[in-house]
Amino acid sequence: MSYIEVNNLKKDFIVKKKREKGRLLREKETVHALKGVSFSVDKGELVGYIGPNGAGKSTTVKVLSGILTPDGGEVNVGGIVPWNERKKHVKNIGVVFGQRSQLWWDVPIIDSYSLLKDIYRIPQGDYESRLKELTNALQLDSIMRTPLRLLSLGQRMRAELCGSLLHRPELLFLDEPTIGLDAVSKLSLRDFLKWENREYGTTIMLTTHDMEDIAALCSRVMVLGHGQKLFDGRLGDLLEKYDTVRNVSVRYDGDANGLRLPEGVKYKQTEEGLELSYDPSRLPTSQLLGILQEAGNIRELTLQPENTDHLIAAMYKELDL
């Protein structure tokens, strides 16, 4: 049996609609946040969990971390049913919510850690060595005595990560950890997560909208939409399916005369040169290059796939999300 087993997980929410005129009670509507999701995750896996807003990502994480009780289905994490044995379960997990803090707002972060030590009943020696290790890995030295409210977003996220890993959880949930971070912070955060995963075999489940996070970190990706699992596998396989557009930009020496582009190729003339996009399954790349070469003397040519965000957008569109 795998470390995490999720079987036919269901969760409904009752949403009250706005009261209509002349009615005493508001109408209620049931929203099916999860309509029978199943998957399993092995120990030490790094899994990305993506989907548009409202797909049920956070709901899944909340059920797996014991915050919510589902309306149906089975969940087993390391032999424990999260909502039945909440306290025993959460000892083994760490959760980082991208947009809400787990540390105390007005006090130096070192004080927050010391309180977390008591909350998780971490032995003093173990706490000290782990704190030292995380401080080094996350470069927290210079901000240890700064209150959380004075930290930048990137610093705050590093501080949150340290807080959620002090008790050495086997399983770490990250809910949009890189939201709003600058490029440098994102890169160092990803490096840290890889290191933690490699060093301790920590299983990591990551929800994100940032495809680069997935590409850099996750060997496996799950796509969720309308409360159902739509894809589960390697990111490469997912992209291949929707990788239908190539972009080419060409610059000629002088004018390109008599360029005749076949149908299905979109092009745009800009000051830099010519921008083209085409579908390689319908028009072989070699054929297109031939046509381009005949038209004149090429000075510069770049060929690249559509960026990942566009691919995901295309996928969401096709799946009607």
Binding site: F13, S58, K62, S65, G66, I67, L68, T69, R86, K87, K88, V90, K91, I93, V95, F97, G98, Q99, R100, S101, Q102, W104, W105, D106, V107, D111, S114, L115, D118, I119, Y120, R121, P147, D175, E176
Partner: protein
Amino acid sequence: MNTLRLYFKSIGMLLKSHLQYPSSFIMQTLAQLVMEGSEMMVVILIVDRFERLKGWSGGNLYFFFGVMSVSFYLTELFGRGITGDFPMMVRTGRLDTFLVRPRGVLTQVLCAGTDPRRITCIAVGIVSLIIGSGISGISWSFAKVLVLAESISMSCLLILGLFMIEAIFSIFSVKSVELVNAITYGGRSACQYPIDIYPLPLRALFTVIAPFALTMHVPAAWIMDKPLYGWPAWTAFVTPLSGAVVFVVMSVFFHLAMRHYRSTGS
């Protein structure tokens, strides 16, 4: 024991964060003094005008007022998580962060709130207790000190229990403030005066549903050697325990309600 240590460490840290803004803290603490001081002024005026209220002397009134002030504001000082901040914790999703830690939810909620500004209100209450005791000429004995301590601590549990009704409603995202305030803040205003000056329906409300009369008036009246309704001495020891009963019942409901907690979106 570990839980108690955690509680005081948390409260210590919250105090530190309050003191991060010292001038605001001092101003608000003084404002509380004015507020509770004017409440006491009402009692002083009543005593000055009437001298007696249904057989209760002025000293007796100060004593009743003192028991209520001390109990109510001790609860607000140490139980702010329940008496004030809880609905906010639900709305902002802070409750989620408690649920992912290996400690009781109620423990963490209580660890997450304190209102040190209430210290001046408690001081007013203590002054009122001392004046009341002096004028009433209470002859203190060990048993009476014990009953007073029991009365105050059980009243705190009662008040905490009543505020938990509001907490339970907010778990289901129901706004109930006015309804619940009627028995919490309403109870404070009404029951700082002896219960037997009120008509029967109010007396029933504050004896059976929100038993302030049992946790405060019965023991306080016995301490002043004027047993309420002429009840025997043992009632002064036993009836305050109703506060603990209310607290336990509400804790059970609270935990049942948490099962239906829906969290907020992110």
